[in-house]
Subunit: 212 residues, 2 copies
DNA sequence: ATGCATCACTGTAAAATTGCAGTTGTGCAA
DNA sequence: TTGCACAACTGCAATTTTACAGTGATGCAT
């Protein structure tokens, strides 16, 4: 699946998956509150200290939320699509790029949905993490908004405010699209990226039209 | 200022303000990383355990973020404005109601802005808390959206998705408006509520128009 | 004024999270 | 192959945060 990775990266990926599996397994078996970081780490054969090198919190491990770091070059590349496509399309594509493709392991996805049903407060964690991800691209979105014809001519402060709002709207659209996809599409995971992008764009468009 | 409070509530309010003052004072004096919850609690004359009865985290105390709990009745009352006003206006008014009026203590506001400048990561905390607040009114917003003429006729899932996006857009508008107000309006704190509402509405309207 | 229900406060212990320093394994070039 | 730079892993200590259980203060009806 991923043969183009060196030994170091393969080990790292394996450790992360082992931690995710351990977290999900133990939570389903013992319940969220009786599952400790120590137990997860032990089952995954790493020290508790290492656990936090992979995940920001226990919840993040259970949900499989990796921390993103974006290369400036990637962002700049994405930003050269404004002329051809619309602003909403560009921002959503940017967001989907940084959050990466959804997990292809169907069992895992089912298990996580079950955990989310049992512990709704995890939705808060998920939302917070997602929001944090989106803020990482704030500067890039500001640049995109500044180039858009509809927003041109505003003051610096106005542009910054507009960028902020465009970002939260598109981020929300992506979040809703991902959620719908996770809940409704148990079969193929191939066209996922395209489906997500298409759905998110139509959601954002629809709302902005109906609100104006 | 607030004579219509019993002894218990007055004491509680005083304790919260003492904790906020202690947190801000110590952070400005010793720096964020050298200020412990123990020190804050000691200066405020409560136990560290009590600290967490008032604030969810050290950061929340520094920023003065109180945890909100909304009465269902209040929400229902707000929701009866859809017919007369637009959807955006209603949702923003709802949000401003639940987050309450901004702090009127100017020194405190200045001090906190200074701390935010020195420790940008606190913005993440602030944003997360704000997002959490907004999600508390998800159901009420869903009801508002369902009543709105532009959104009527959609399926249940479509309505839920739309409500989600309307909420993040309005929430973002309020957040931007509050931020602008905190940074630019050192004088009167009286018309604050109206200014905030007006600014947030125009922000949300403008973006939805330009995006559509 | 009295009694009761409730809430605020506290101590203790356990779990979660972070910082620091040291060891080991990996990638890479000589 | 050897050696170096760096990343991953670990242990340890300190801090943050939560759960539980108990004590005292407050609000309120009588």
């Amino acid at each position: 699946m991923e043969p183009n990775l060196g030994l170091r990266d393969r080990k790292r990926l394996a450790t992360r998956l082992r931690l995710e599996d351990a977290a999900v397994t133990l939570v389903l078996r013992d319940g969220l509150e009786h599952t400790t970081v120590d137990a997860i780490s032990e089952l995954a054969d790493v020290s508790p200290r290492t656990f936090f090198k992979y995940f920001e919190s226990k919840d993040a491990a259970i949900l499989g939320l990796r921390q993103v770091e974006i290369a400036e070059s990637e962002l700049a590349e994405q930003c050269d699509r404004v002329a051809e496509h619309g602003l909403i399309e560009c921002v959503i594509h940017l967001l989907l790029t940084v959050i990466g493709p959804p997990s292809t392991r169907l069992t895992m996805r089912e298990d996580r949905l079950e955990i989310l049903r049992r512990h709704p407060h995890l939705l808060t964690t998920q939302l917070a993490q997602f929001t944090q991800m989106t803020t990482e691209v704030t500067d890039a979105v500001a640049a995109l908004v500044a180039r858009d014809a509809h927003f041109a001519g505003g003051s610096s402060a106005e542009l910054a405010a507009s960028a902020d709002l465009v970002l939260v709207l598109c981020g929300g659209a992506v979040r809703v699209a991902v959620k719908e996809w996770a809940e409704m599409n148990p079969t193929d995971a191939d066209g996922a990226a395209e489906q997500l992008e298409s759905r998110a764009i139509s959601l954002a468009r629809e709302v902005s039209v109906k609100l104006s």
